[in-house]
Symmetry: C3
Subunit: 138 residues, 3 copies
């Protein structure tokens, strides 16, 4: 069994952002040389997400509006976590979007459906944060 590990680093200019990381994940898979297996891709921070959905700007706007409705950023004082922090909403938003994805590796490719794209979801940005890619297989 082979394994491969790679970190991706991000520092978004805005508090919230969605970044399509499919090309970087594909590059990591090529570097691994693994042809059959499973690929884990997870946020290493608890106010960020890795998720799979559509690369369509209207939908990303809908996600932003919807997450703000389900877990509003403000007023900050509604959350007990916000004593020294202001990012409680980011923990909740990331919970909705999920920490990680697991993707099948088949014939050396990400085995994704036709519209599946992998995204980094940032909910408390403007600082350096990481995503982990771990691949195991043969």
């Amino acid at each position: 069994m082979k394994s491969y590990r790679k970190e991706l680093w991000f520092e978004t200019k805005t508090r919230r952002a969605f970044i399509n990381i499919t090309p970087q994940v594909e590059a990591a898979l090529r570097e691994s040389g693994i042809k059959e297996g499973l690929l884990l891709c997870n946020a290493m921070h608890i106010t960020a997400s890795v998720f799979i959905n559509d690369d369509e700007s209207g939908l990303h706007h809908d996600f932003e509006t919807w997450l703000e409705k389900l877990a509003p950023e403000k007023p900050y004082e509604q959350y007990r976590h916000n004593g020294f922090e202001d990012n409680a909403d980011a923990h909740l938003k990331r919970t909705i979007m999920g920490r990680e994805v697991v993707v099948a590796v088949t014939n050396g490719q990400l085995d994704l459906g036709p519209w599946e794209q992998i995204f980094y979801g940032e909910f408390d940005g403007k600082r350096r944060k990481r995503v982990l890619i771990k691949i195991i297989g043969d």
Copy 2:
């Protein structure tokens, strides 16, 4: 290390549906011959879900009502994604329910708790869509 891949196809008659796919996943595991490992089962479409919960019709009705409250289908024009589409709500509902499950394989069986059943969750049906099963192990 062995690996096995199988697709399941669906075409629901209704826009939304929950289908218990545990028997099909068990069949794929038997076909694989894998005794110890991990099984990934994921929707290949971004308006559908694979999730684990109870096979109880009252609960499924509760899920439908609850998801409509959290991410209503209508009015369609509330979502920017719905320019040429009407399925923005399906992307959001699937986000709540999740894209995938990973299940342990032990002694050649799905290592599930007493009430765990695997479901395909359709939120934009009436067309052919796929689920991927990928199993790795020995």
Copy 3:
């Protein structure tokens, strides 16, 4: 390829609870002897969750309040699942929090970010319930 399986058992005194299980998961990894691979940790019950977030009591209070807003426990009769049960809300809350996490294993350690901690989330407690740890790798 090696594999290792362990169950953790819980019986919370309250209906809802969050328990940091990172030390137990680390112990299972040490017992496995696996140095490189993937670790699955999942609730075996459909009214409980395994999730990763911050070990901060203010945030846990925020989760409790937020989940009660999104999927209130009462009135019980709002849910069809609650014919013989009163735990429909627990199925919904666990859906938000997630069933499982998959964690990379690197150099014999859980490959977690700086604040990532693994939690058992109980939403229908006061009875014995289980978490499954399954590790595969070399």
